[in-house]
């Protein structure tokens, strides 16, 4: 078990060893976002700007203009919220090569509670033109995504989590922005992003008792949204579910529904945060509280199948 933020820290360190173009920035959370690993080995290429997220994004933009590839990290709530307009105007509008890698996304931040739980960041980042929005589901995918982001020229937002996640994808997995069919089933398809891939996999185990075998598809790239591939997958199924540790407004569910409404109208059932703030608690208890654990997902499917 390893959090995607930890896999990010390791991947960033590897990139730092590979290329001296890589620089990292943090806003006083490097021990939590794991940029501390890079900072320790490359102090001359690491900038802790203090508790000043807006300035961090601006400095990252300036560094990118000199040919550096800046990775700027803080919690998702501050990156996508506090510094939203800096990302929009100073990074995305001129399409600068800045990578915003934000950790502690979703409710599984845990005990810190609503002020620190970002359930809006996918929507906030996806609405900005020129942005690429990526959500890794496990440590393997995180490393592949960070390497991809380094090679890609342009602004990227990567959503990372605090909670430990098992390796789910094959060791030789290579991220390519397309949906990844994780498990082939029948009749029902679940599109999942981030940590929900793991939770859906657990739910599918529980659903075996009911003779239900859904297809499980991992969606790591929320923007550009893989509309064509999603429609192709939906064509082979009768029911569509989406699962995300994010508000059902502006996230994966909205995007799938919007895609289908234009080309292949079909009912979509959303598993996510129903227009609510987070709350304090242990990560697993919170997943259960919001219906995002295996039992919650199972029940949601059973309710909709009836």
């Amino acid at each position: 078990m390893k959090a995607t933020r930890e896999a990010y820290g390791e991947a960033l360190l590897d990139l730092g060893r590979l290329s001296d173009q890589v620089v990292a920035l943090d806003a006083d959370l490097s021990k939590s976002t794991k940029t501390s690993l890079f900072a320790k080995e490359f102090p001359e290429r690491f900038f802790d700007v203090g508790i000043a997220e807006q300035n961090m994004i601006g400095i990252a933009a300036g560094l990118s203009l000199a040919g550096f590839v800046p990775f700027a990290s803080t919690f998702a709530i501050f990156a996508s919220g506090r510094a939203w307009e800096q990302i929009r105007n100073t990074v995305a509008y001129p399409s600068l090569n800045v990578k915003v890698c934000a950790s502690h996304a979703g409710i599984t931040v845990g005990e810190d509670g609503a002020s620190h739980q970002s359930v809006e960041d996918i929507g906030l980042m996806s609405i900005i033109p020129n942005m690429t929005v990526l959500v890794p589901s496990d440590p393997i995918e995180t490393k592949s995504i960070i390497n991809w982001a380094f090679k890609y020229k342009g602004p990227v937002y990567v959503r990372l989590g605090r909670m430990g996640v098992p390796d789910l994808l094959p060791k030789d997995y290579s991220f390519d922005t397309k949906p990844y069919i994780f498990k082939k089933g029948k009749k029902i398809v679940i599109f999942a992003t981030g940590i929900m891939l793991w939770k859906c996999l657990e739910a599918i185990e529980l659903l075996k008792a009911y003779d239900i075998e859904p297809t499980l598809v991992n969606i790591p790239c929320l923007k550009p949204f893989p509309e064509k591939e999603i429609i192709e997958i939906v064509r082979e199924h009768d029911m569509v579910f989406t699962a995300e540790e994010h508000s059902i407004i502006g996230g994966l569910g909205s995007m799938v529904a919007s895609t289908l409404s234009r080309s292949y109208p079909m009912k979509v059932s959303f598993i996510g945060i129903n227009d609510k703030f987070g709350t304090s608690g242990k990560p697993n208890d919170l997943l259960s509280f919001y219906g995002l654990d295996a039992a919650g997902i199972r029940d949601k499917l059973l309710d909709n199948i009836k």
Partner: protein, 293 residues
């Protein structure tokens, strides 16, 4: 790689002539667009003239030279001043000025670095340029490059919190290769800066944030140019408080808050142009526009 340099150094009386031409073009282009910000454009003309004709190591022939000095117009609404200056220095053709703020024009209401050679950063949302300047100055330090970074801010802009985040970081990182110039015209959209949200004492604030502070008459080349040259001698980031007159050069716009973001009507243009009689467009050399960015 070609060495960036100023092609020539005009004498002070010639600088005054350049400033007049730039002012005339600002008024004309805003009048033609019937939209734009004349007040804050006219107040910073002498600052831009000093930079582009005496200070910046730049060349329109090599707009992407990695060793060039960087200039960021953080007060992006003064775009007409920057565009008129870029035309005067040969970065863009004069004809572009005719299409300010029109659909399809590279000259957007606020500067777009992707569309205009010589524009180093897209700006417009106040408070963000200095942070980018700090990033550029840090880059020069890491790369052991000699380029300098100049950022022009409005005085009202200093009400933005991010300006002070950036100010703190420039001195923290001991950046000696960055200059913030504050166009202290004393006015903002809703009134006098000191009535809306007082920023005085401005110099003391920058000093407290670890900057060398130089206060000058922002319309006097004899004060502006030595202050801008002081970057070579300082051991701290440099803040230049340039005291200016909003609307400078057009008598009915001077110190008048109503001319922050309003275009002159044809009769007003006529009156304004009387102040520039005898000031003519300079014929530009062949300008090769580098649109590879």
């Amino acid at each position: 790689m070609p060495f960036s340099r100023i092609v020539y150094k005009p004498e002070y009386d010639e600088l005054e002539k350049k400033a007049l031409i730039i002012r005339k073009n600002i008024v004309k282009m805003i009048a033609k667009a019937q939209s734009g910000h004349p007040g804050g454009s006219l107040s910073c003309v002498d600052i831009l003239t000093s930079l582009y004709f005496r200070i910046l190591r730049i060349s329109p022939k090599h707009p992407k030279d990695p060793e060039r000095d960087r200039f960021i117009l953080s007060k992006g609404h003064a775009a007409p001043a920057l565009y008129a200056t870029l035309a005067e220095t040969g970065f863009i053709p004069y004809e572009w000025l005719d299409d300010l703020r029109k659909i399809g024009s590279p000259l957007q209401g606020h500067p777009d670095m992707k569309k205009v050679p010589g524009v180093e950063m897209s700006t417009g949302s106040l408070g963000q340029g200095l942070s980018v300047g700090v990033g550029m100055a840090l880059s020069a330090k890491i790369l052991e490059s000699g380029y300098r970074v100049f950022v022009l801010l409005g005085d009202g802009e200093c009400q933005e919190g991010q300006v002070w985040e950036a100010a703190m970081s420039a001195s923290h990182y001991k950046l000696t290769n960055i200059v913030a110039i504050i166009d202290r015209n004393g006015l903002q959209i809703d009134g006098c800066t000191e009535d809306i949200m007082g920023i005085s004492p401005l110099g003391a604030k920058w000093k407290a944030f670890g900057w060398t502070v130089i206060e000058v008459d922002g319309h006097d080349f004899l004060e502006l140019i030595p202050a801008l040259e002081a970057i070579s001698y300082t051991s701290k980031p440099t803040a230049i408080i340039a005291n200016t007159v909003k609307g400078k050069g057009v008598c009915f716009m001077e110190n008048n808050v109503d001319w922050h973001g309003k275009a002159p009507k044809p009769d007003q243009l006529e009156e304004a142009l009387k102040g520039f009689e005898g000031v003519e467009f300079m014929e530009s050399d062949e300008v090769e526009v580098d649109s590879s960015n």
